[in-house]
């Protein structure tokens, strides 16, 4: 008997530990699950800036302090509440926590996910649970190429655009270049980035020579061997999709050896560290921001508002993950309000919001976002590249060229890889 009593104690303790399930919402607030890396190596470059942007934008929206047409309070007058979840712990954890968000916290929608692995894993679950889910950052084009979804959206462009546009920019500013090399992390992001870049380069420069492709392991931190190989390769251009910590380490180690002075660097995610490393980025390095974000953001009212508020609160300028998070919330807000208006002012269902978001177009701090591909679920945007130039100890960009959304993204129904291989037919 005592065994049974012990068992009962343990079960009671376990139940006491488990979170109290929240009562179903009664019309009042709109509950959003926000998921981004809050721990691990992807937290400081992506997760935390994104979470900061989410907190800021939602607070301003709740106060009705966003510029029109985002100036109604909350979502269509309903206050926004958030449940913030860490994206660490692997896909199994993320799928578990996604289900918890939906079925225990009863969130109305989910905005999140930095890692493409999380997005690939979550998409079918979101569909199973019929829960509106907007991926704000992950890059892989596979999500809407391999399947079609009703409830899943991505209001940020795919990583294809970054590398295609990088090749176009080189064609514009270095039409006579003869060779290139690459250093990318050996995981899906690095492999895809290099694959897209290499194929695009071969299209724009049919006679180009590929000197070497270095694929060190993710978060390796030490790149002296790779730097030696790259120095020996003497390529005109070196492509890298490194970001944050790895990029910082690469630049710090490459700087004394003059690597990026001898070969022009094309840093497709270079914007993540441009505010930190003024001394290590030689003038003339090509910097990307994964879209028209940060230094490439248009001079519109939303950008002015966002930068001013972000700097006032966090004392640093917003980087692209912050922009992506802001526009993810803004796009959903507009769709929510459109659906609410169509629903006679009553709270819209997930299906109604999804229908309103599908194929929609809206403008945010990064400019115009068109939900044009992936059956209206995947955004395309224009993008821009420029050359770094240190002015007064700060990295700025010059010779900025902008590429229209339709030119750097595949048309509806065409897979990114096929589009590149087929010579960018629209």
């Amino acid at each position: 008997m005592r065994n049974l009593r012990n068992l009962a104690t343990a079960v009671a303790a376990a139940l006491a530990l488990s979170p109290v399930s929240v009562l179903a919402q009664d019309a009042a607030p709109v509950k959003i699950g926000v998921v981004a890396f809050l721990s691990g190596p992807a937290a400081s470059p992506f997760g935390v800036p994104a979470r900061n942007a989410a907190e800021l934008v939602i607070e301003l929206m709740n106060a009705g302090k966003a510029p029109a047409p985002y100036d109604t309070k909350g979502f269509g007058g309903s206050k926004i509440e958030t449940v913030i979840i860490d994206e660490s712990g692997g896909t199994t954890t993320q799928v578990t926590e996604f289900r918890n968000l939906v079925q225990r916290h009863n969130v109305d929608l989910v905005i999140g996910y930095v890692s493409s692995g999380s997005c690939v894993g979550i998409a079918p679950v979101a569909e199973e649970l019929k829960k509106l889910t907007n991926f704000f950052d992950c890059g892989t084009p596979r999500i809407f190429e391999d399947a079609s979804y009703k409830y899943v959206f991505r209001t940020s462009p795919t990583s294809t655009m970054d590398n295609v546009a990088a090749a176009m920019y080189l064609k514009d500013i270095k039409p006579k270049m003869k060779s290139f090399a690459g250093i990318n992390q050996n995981y899906a992001w690095g492999q895809d980035s290099w694959g897209d870049f290499e194929a695009s380069m071969k299209h724009f420069f049919p006679k180009i020579e590929v000197k070497t492709s270095q694929m060190p392991k993710l978060f390796a931190g030490q790149y002296n061997t790779e730097i030696s190989t790259l120095l020996g390769a003497k390529a005109d251009v070196i492509h890298s999709s490194f970001y944050d910590g790895d990029l910082e380490a690469l630049l710090l180690q490459a700087s004394p050896r003059g690597l990026f002075k001898k070969s022009t660097g094309v840093l497709t995610a270079g914007e993540t560290i441009m505010h930190k490393l003024a001394k290590q980025v030689p003038d003339g390095t090509i910097l990307g921001a994964r879209g028209p974000f940060g230094p490439y953001a248009p001079d519109n009212v939303y950008n002015k508002w966002f930068v001013k508020e972000f700097e006032a609160r966090y004392q640093v300028p917003p980087t692209y993950p912050s922009y992506q998070m802001a526009q993810a919330i803004m796009g959903v807000k507009l769709a929510w309000e459109k659906a609410q208006a169509a629903n006679g002012g009553k709270r819209p269902s997930n299906e109604q919001v999804a229908a309103a978001l599908e194929n929609s177009t809206f403008e945010g701090p990064g400019g115009v976002v068109k939900m044009a591909i992936g059956k209206g679920h995947q955004a395309i945007m224009e993008t821009a590249y420029g050359l770094s130039k240190v002015v007064g100890g700060k990295v700025t960009v010059t010779k900025v060229k902008r590429y229209p959304a339709e030119k750097v993204n595949p048309p509806e129904g065409v897979k990114a890889a096929d589009w590149i291989a087929g010579g960018f037919k629209q």
Partner: protein
């Protein structure tokens, strides 16, 4: 200490658990069903770890077989269009056992830290291979087909229930077999191996063979666990073989203790609850919460949570 001095209630407990899942499953919220399914999968792997722990061996690479189970299930769907979760679990077990049979010849010769690190190295090799294979989605992984049972795809409302009942039946059967094995002479050797290997050899038993058998059984259990997790989650990626995944299993095994074959499952459920609560209450410091709870268990219950139920025997 010997389990035979009083009545052994393991089999009735296992039966009761299965019955409880079948009866109370439909009443539980869906998120709890999913949490329990994952706990079941992790419990199976931890049961494998427990077998090794009883012989004094700590594997830092049990995720190798968890991953093999998962990728076997995924490959069946991707290349042969097989989504039957029973078949996936059986194939996962066999694939893992087969690999363990071969690697066992190497591993059974090592003890202590060498055993641990070698097993970890092997699982990291698999991680590295998968991270480089772009046809299997590299580090992003791939989705696997929605689960079916005997060719039937359950309705959306019932799929979580069907998955847990099927998973639980397999797990209970496997656990009962392990319980049975622990009563065979070969199974009983484990604590003796832990205490004094030379004496075991003197008695005429082969320590290497005993460890090899344990290693293969542990792998088969982990393979089932991996396949179950894969079909429940619907996605597999190389992280399944990463050393932190192995660490999670060790965490559960230590939390649970090695006294009963049921302990790892209790450990996995408690781990799942602590994990999700920590995620909920402290999204920025959930790792710390996990760490503190493990420390508390190690300090106050050095033989794991199961010692809560067995203390009376020692007294």
């Amino acid at each position: 200490m010997s389990p035979d001095t009083h009545r052994d209630r393991t089999l009735p407990i296992l039966g009761a658990v299965l019955l409880a899942v079948i009866v109370f499953g439909p009443l539980l919220p869906k998120w709890a069903l999913f949490l329990l399914t994952i706990a079941l999968a992790k419990g199976l792997v931890s049961l494998g770890l427990m077998l090794q722990l009883r012989a004094g061996l700590v594997s830092f690479g049990q995720a190798l077989y968890y991953c093999i189970g998962g990728y076997t299930a995924g490959s069946l769907g991707r290349f042969f269009d097989i989504s039957d979760m029973l078949l996936q679990m059986i194939c996962g077990a066999f694939a893992a056992a087969f690999v363990a049979l071969i690697l066992g010849f190497l591993l059974a010769r090592y003890r202590g830290i060498f055993y641990g690190l070698l097993s970890m190295a092997l699982s990291m090799i698999l991680y590295g291979l998968l991270a480089k294979s772009e046809s299997l989605g590299s580090t992003d992984g791939i989705n696997i087909l929605p689960s079916t049972v005997f060719g039937i795809r359950p309705a959306q409302e019932w799929v979580r229930y069907v998955v847990i009942v099927t998973g639980c039946s397999v797990a209970v059967l496997a656990t009962a077999l392990v319980h049975r094995y622990l009563k065979t002479p070969l199974g009983r050797l484990a604590p003796a191996i832990k205490d004094n290997e030379i004496r075991v050899e003197y008695m005429g038993a082969s320590v290497r063979r005993a460890i090899h058998v344990k290693y293969v059984i542990a792998a088969a259990l982990s393979g089932i666990g991996g396949a179950l997790a894969a079909t429940a989650v619907g996605h597999i990626d190389p992280d399944m073989a990463y050393w932190t995944t192995s660490g999670e299993f060790i965490f559960i095994a230590i939390l649970a203790g090695t006294r009963s074959v049921v302990a790892p499952f209790l450990g996995a459920v408690i781990f799942g609850i602590i994990h999700t609560t920590a995620f909920d209450l402290s999204p920025n410091t959930w790792q710390m919460t996990l760490g503190i709870s493990l420390l508390l268990v190690i300090v106050f219950l050095p033989e794991g949570l199961w010692s809560l139920f067995g203390r009376r025997k020692a007294a």
